[in-house]
């Protein structure tokens, strides 16, 4: 059993004891512990159940690469699943729960899957998909959903209680990794004067060097690390951040850093995570290396760990993994673990080295301690269970027979080390296969390229495949200097610190243990712990024809879990290469994609949540609306009142009241959100003739015209009233959502097609408050205001006729009044300066009292226009509708040679008489048609579905007519007046509606023209 040692533990503070809970049980650890080291110290070797087979699992690694020890942390609005125990720093009150078991970690009913493992092989899901659909839906899916998976999802109703932020940073040289290579590279780069940022994922600096030993400049690595850190901290051009992981490298030197500010100290205040958005000229990846597991049967039993991790637990946290340990290796490095364990008083019962010739000086040192070293030997099997009890040892070069059984409670394994090439590879850096270390390393000839075609990533140290301390430090010093020079700083030569470490003998590539393991062993030899993928699964995939490593990954799920195969990828593709009789470099790797390690969604969102998720645009009268019952509706970034609710009124009642009152008395609409674009210049008329389907150049000064805009594809994209202001100025109204888009659209054509035309476009939408004064009493209220002010604009029928506009004063306000109507009533849209909007609104409300004034919202606006058969962009149009579909041929100029969309509207499909066309729809029983409902016709289509002959585009209850009204697009619609067609609803009912003229109210248009 694992326990705390009396000595060792360079990172823990034994004077600060900390209480935490695991599965509800209180345990004790020390400040400086990770959750993983603290659990081991409490004898908790088993930390979870596996994804698919529910096998007992313990911690394998000591860092970000950990696949097994995933925890559910916290509760309520701070609950988070799938957090690695190895990267979770212990704090007082931490609450952790293990995952994926029922009813408990110790006794898990679904461990039956382990017995069924031969039915749950590679491609299990895909194979099941072939079976009859009901079986999938009612049997497999519910079972799989219950049994497979990681932690439970957080409660969807709860909001994350923490805050997050983004931070922008520009660096000449970004160094990712604060191990000795990263610090050396930073020092070399900073000496040139470059602005250097160094990111370290852990809370401590120096990486593995203090654990692995050796000397730097004649001292223990820790002394050099402290000294170098002090030097770097003293430099103005260097920024150091710990607990900040280099998460991804992107195009042209963009990088993300993921800083965990309060995970280790909740309650400290401030943001929990900070996402660093970094632009760097050059990036040094000093990301170290990750140890590979060995593939032997039972290599997932709790107590089997990576040799380097086991060393970490002893040296860093003073935890011993067991009492009797077997070390299995194919290289010299694992002997360091044997030495550390021996020094800590742990019995190393065997070192099993696959190499017939054994290792070098480290092996000799181990032998000198009296530890038994066996060469050419392997682990045949670790006995299944909740912890290691028995280890069977056999010859490496065999099938696993003639076993010697050894009693042990932990196993340290090392299959060699792989450089962490992820960040090098994120943006296209290529790899080469290194025979010596049996790993992929960065190809210096093929780095990721920046905007000038220059390489912008420089790997350093172990991440570059340089493992000895001396070579690693020299490589890092060169990398740092090279990066600074590439970033435009003078070449400097900083002498690399002198590293010394024990020379190591050549390792041996071992991908399966023993080399010819029989199928029973291979079925228990894990490659990917987190996704439960075994050697036999990859071999099966190869037999079933999967040759591409990318396909094999998806078929077997190898490397697809939250750890993205940090431990499993090389072993997996080596097995695949062997199965395919190919070389490893030929098989290649899967694509490395950011993030390197899972980052929180909160960090990605940053501050963009809740009220500041996006800007809210408010009209000058926003506050008045809010005080007077506005039921807000988002329209793009604007907020508009849907309706103004009075006490005791629901939405429906409020809308009916507003509709009736506007038709009978007087309504006010805040129309300020409508887009207003000034188009000005000698060629403005010519330009607008191209933009609009109508002729705008001939519009007389003082007049208005309703215009349509189409895309080059012919489809209707916006509409609005255009007013001719003077000889070379037009004012174009757009839809509320269209102002910015149409402004951009005009700019695009002016800048990229007709750049010699003299036209200027300005978006003045927010410069004006615009109020629609609508209803039979509209003129009366304006005349009253003018009378009160002692005169003003003549708003009579004769002086300001329908579809004209005038500048002048109304009620003492400088105003521009447009006689235009989107309701069919007598209507003036009056624009005043935005700053006067509220005062003008107040004046209208006050003067309008005797005329029955009421404000109305967007729903009433919609109903009023629908009663008149006016189309609405986004309702009657959806990007596939042309003006001809909507009976708007009158707005298409026949005189103009060209306008945007004209050529497209001549294409065969656009002139097809079978296109659906706009009609009015009246339900037979007066009810309201469901929005978006489709009308069905005779017969079925090629897929056996009923033929569709039309759809509802707008549908409302008309308070004016006391019945449901709708508009829709129907095949041959205008020729089918009076016909009744059927609309099956999603509620199971079938609605019957008669095809009618789309103008339901005041067909002659008399009311708006009084």
């Amino acid at each position: 059993m694992s326990t705390r040692l009396a000595k060792h533990g360079r990172l823990i503070d034994r004077s600060k004891q900390i209480d935490f809970t695991f599965n509800g049980k209180t345990m004790k650890g020390y400040a400086g512990d990770t959750l993983a080291s603290a659990l081991l110290a409490n004898g908790q070797v088993m930390m979870g159940r596996s994804f698919k087979y529910h096998r007992p699992r313990g911690v394998v690694a000591s860092g970000a690469e950990e696949p097994n020890a995933l925890m559910q942390l916290g509760t309520g609005d701070r609950y988070e699943p799938n957090q690695r125990a190895t990267t979770t720093e212990l704090f007082s009150g931490l609450q952790a729960q293990s995952q994926n078991h029922w009813p408990s970690l110790e006794f898990d009913v679904l461990s039956i899957n382990n017995k069924l493992s031969r039915f749950l092989t590679a491609g299990f899901y895909y194979k099941m998909f072939i079976h009859p659909r009901p079986l999938w839906k009612h049997v497999y899916e519910p079972i799989i959903r219950k049994s497979a998976g990681l932690g439970a999802a957080p409660d969807a109703e709860l909001k994350d209680a923490d805050t997050y932020e983004h931070f922008y940073f520009f660096a000449d040289v970004l160094v990712i990794g604060g191990g000795v290579a990263g610090l050396q590279a930073a020092k070399a780069a900073a000496a040139s004067g470059a602005k250097v940022l160094v990111l370290e994922q852990n809370s401590y600096w120096g990486g593995r060097a203090p654990v692995d030993g050796g000397t730097i400049d004649g001292e223990a690595p820790e002394a050099w690390i402290e000294k170098t850190l002090a030097e770097l901290r003293a430099m103005d051009n260097v920024t150091l951040r710990d607990r900040c992981m280099g998460s991804g490298v992107y195009d042209h030197g963009y990088a993300l850093g993921y800083e965990r500010l309060t995970d280790h100290a909740p309650g400290q205040g401030g943001p929990r995570h900070r996402l660093w958005r970094i632009r760097a000229s050059q990036i040094v990846t000093a990301t170290g290396a990750i140890e590979r597991p060995l593939s032997f049967a039972g290599n997932d039993v709790p107590g089997v760990m990576l040799a380097g991790a086991m060393r970490d637990y002893v040296v860093n946290w003073g935890v011993k993994p067991g009492e009797r340990v077997v070390v299995a290796t194919n290289n010299d490095d694992a002997y360091r673990t044997a030495l550390v364990l021996h020094d800590a008083g742990v019995e190393v019962v065997r070192v099993v080295d696959t190499r017939e010739t054994g290792g070098g000086a480290l092996m000799e040192a181990v032998r000198e301690k009296g530890i038994r070293v066996e060469l050419g030997r392997a682990i045949a099997k670790v006995k299944d269970g909740k912890s290691v009890t028995e280890v069977a040892i056999c010859a490496q070069n065999g099938e696993g027979g003639a076993r010697e059984i050894v009693q042990a409670d932990a196993v340290a394994m090392s299959g060699g080390w792989s450089p962490v090439v992820h960040l090098w590879s994120h943006c296209g850096g290529k790899l080469i296969w290194d025979e010596v270390t049996a790993s992929f390393r960065p190809d210096p000839e093929r780095p990721p390229l920046g905007d000038k075609g220059q390489g912008f990533v420089v790997p350093a140290g172990a991440a570059n495949g340089e493992f000895g301390l001396a070579a690693l430090l020299e490589d890092a010093a060169v990398a740092g200097a090279k990066a600074a020079e590439a970033a435009g700083f003078p070449a400097t030569t900083v002498a690399a610190a002198k590293g010394e470490s024990v020379a190591e003998a050549q390792m041996e590539a071992v991908w399966l243990m023993p080399a010819k393991a029989d199928v029973k062993l291979r079925m228990k030899s894990w490659l990917d712990y987190q996704n439960d993928v075994k050697v036999s699964d990859v071999q099966l995939a190869a037999r079933e024809g999967y040759e591409s490593v990318e396909h094999t990954k998806r078929y077997t799920t190898l490397g697809m879990a939250t750890d993205q195969g940090k431990l499993s990828n090389i072993n997996g593709l080596a097995i695949l290469a062997d199965s395919l009789n190919a070389e490893i470099p030929q098989v290649g790797t899967t694509t490395f994609r950011p993030p390197y390690h899972p980052i929180s969604l909160g960090a990605i969102a940053g501050e963009a949540r809740g009220e500041i998720f996006q800007p809210i645009r408010k009209t000058p009268m926003y506050d008045w609306h809010d005080r007077n019952g506005a039921d807000w509706e988002p329209v793009g970034q604007w907020r508009r009142p849907f309706a103004y609710l009075r006490d005791g009124e629901d939405r429906h009642a409020a809308v009916n009241r507003e509709v009736k009152n506007t038709r009978e008395n007087l309504g006010l609409l805040d129309a300020s959100t409508l887009g207003k674009l000034i188009v000005k210049g000698p060629d403005a008329g010519k330009f607008l003739d191209m933009m609009y389907t109508n002729m705008m150049s001939t519009l007389k000064i003082g007049k208005c015209r309703y215009g349509l805009m189409c895309s080059e594809n012919g489809f209707l994209m916006d509409d609005g009233v255009v007013a001719r202001i003077d000889e070379d100025t037009w004012l174009c109204h757009t839809t509320t959502g269209g102002a910015e888009h149409i402004h951009g659209w005009m700019e695009e054509w002016l800048q990229t097609e007709w750049w010699d035309w003299k036209v200027y476009v300005a978006n003045v939408t927010e410069q004006y408050a615009q109020i629609a004064v609508v209803g039979p009493n509209a003129r009366k209220v304006l005349e009253k205001l003018n009378a009160q002010a002692g005169g003003g604009m003549d708003v009579s029928r004769e002086a300001l006729p329908f579809m004209e506009w005038r500048d002048g004063q109304i009620g003492g306000f400088d105003a521009r009044a447009y006689r235009i109507s989107f309701s069919g009533e007598l209507s003036y849209e009056i624009a005043v300066a935005a700053s006067e909007g509220q005062a003008f609104w107040d004046a209208l409300m006050e003067a309008g009292k005797e005329f029955g004034v009421m404000p109305y919202g967007t729903e009433t606006l919609h109903i009023l226009r629908a009663e008149k058969g006016f189309i609405m962009i986004g309702d009657e149009t959806d990007g596939t509708v042309i003006p001809q579909d909507l009976g708007l041929n009158w707005a298409l100029s026949k005189k103009k040679e060209d306008y945007l969309g004209k050529r497209a509207q001549q294409r065969s499909h656009m002139v097809d008489p079978d296109r659906w066309q706009l009609v009015g729809l009246e339900t037979v029983d007066g009810s309201v048609l469901p929005d978006g409902a489709y009308a069905v016709g005779e017969g079925v289509n090629a897929n056996g579905q009923r033929n569709m002959i039309g759809r509802v585009t707008s549908t409302y209850h008309s308070a004016t007519l006391g019945r449901g009204i709708a508009m829709g697009l129907v095949k041959h619609g205008p020729k089918r007046m009076g016909e009744v067609i059927e609309f099956p609803g999603t509620d199971g009912k079938t609605y019957k509606a008669k095809i009618v003229d789309p103008v339901f109210y005041d067909k002659e248009g008399e009311k708006q023209n009084v």
């Binding site: 992107y250 195009d251 296209g428 920046g450 905007d451 700019e747 004209k902 050529r903």
Partner: protein, 117 residues
Amino acid sequence: MLILECPYCGVKAEETELAAGGEAHLKRYGPGSSDDEFHDYLFMRENPKGVHFERWRHANGCGKWFHAARCTMTLEVFGTYPAQTTEPPQEICDKITAKRPGWSWREFSDGRKSSAA
């Protein structure tokens, strides 16, 4: 997250400031053009692995449209230039030739516009 230098305001703009506008140097076909000409103008686009000419707008900056010549494979940018031109300037073509001898794109190649293709 590409960086493109806006040829108008001189800002080294990053992708979040820019809006992509598709292929550059399209010739507009309107009424009077054949169905094939119009179809090609509207829908047919280059999709090269290598040298490409694109339209970009410095949307969250000075608002100007400009052109960029870049490599879609390596993301190298050969140059940016104003949008008020129907073909890439000689200087840009020369820059591409220096880095990608023998390049061609639509009717343009190796520094010169080829004679009527």
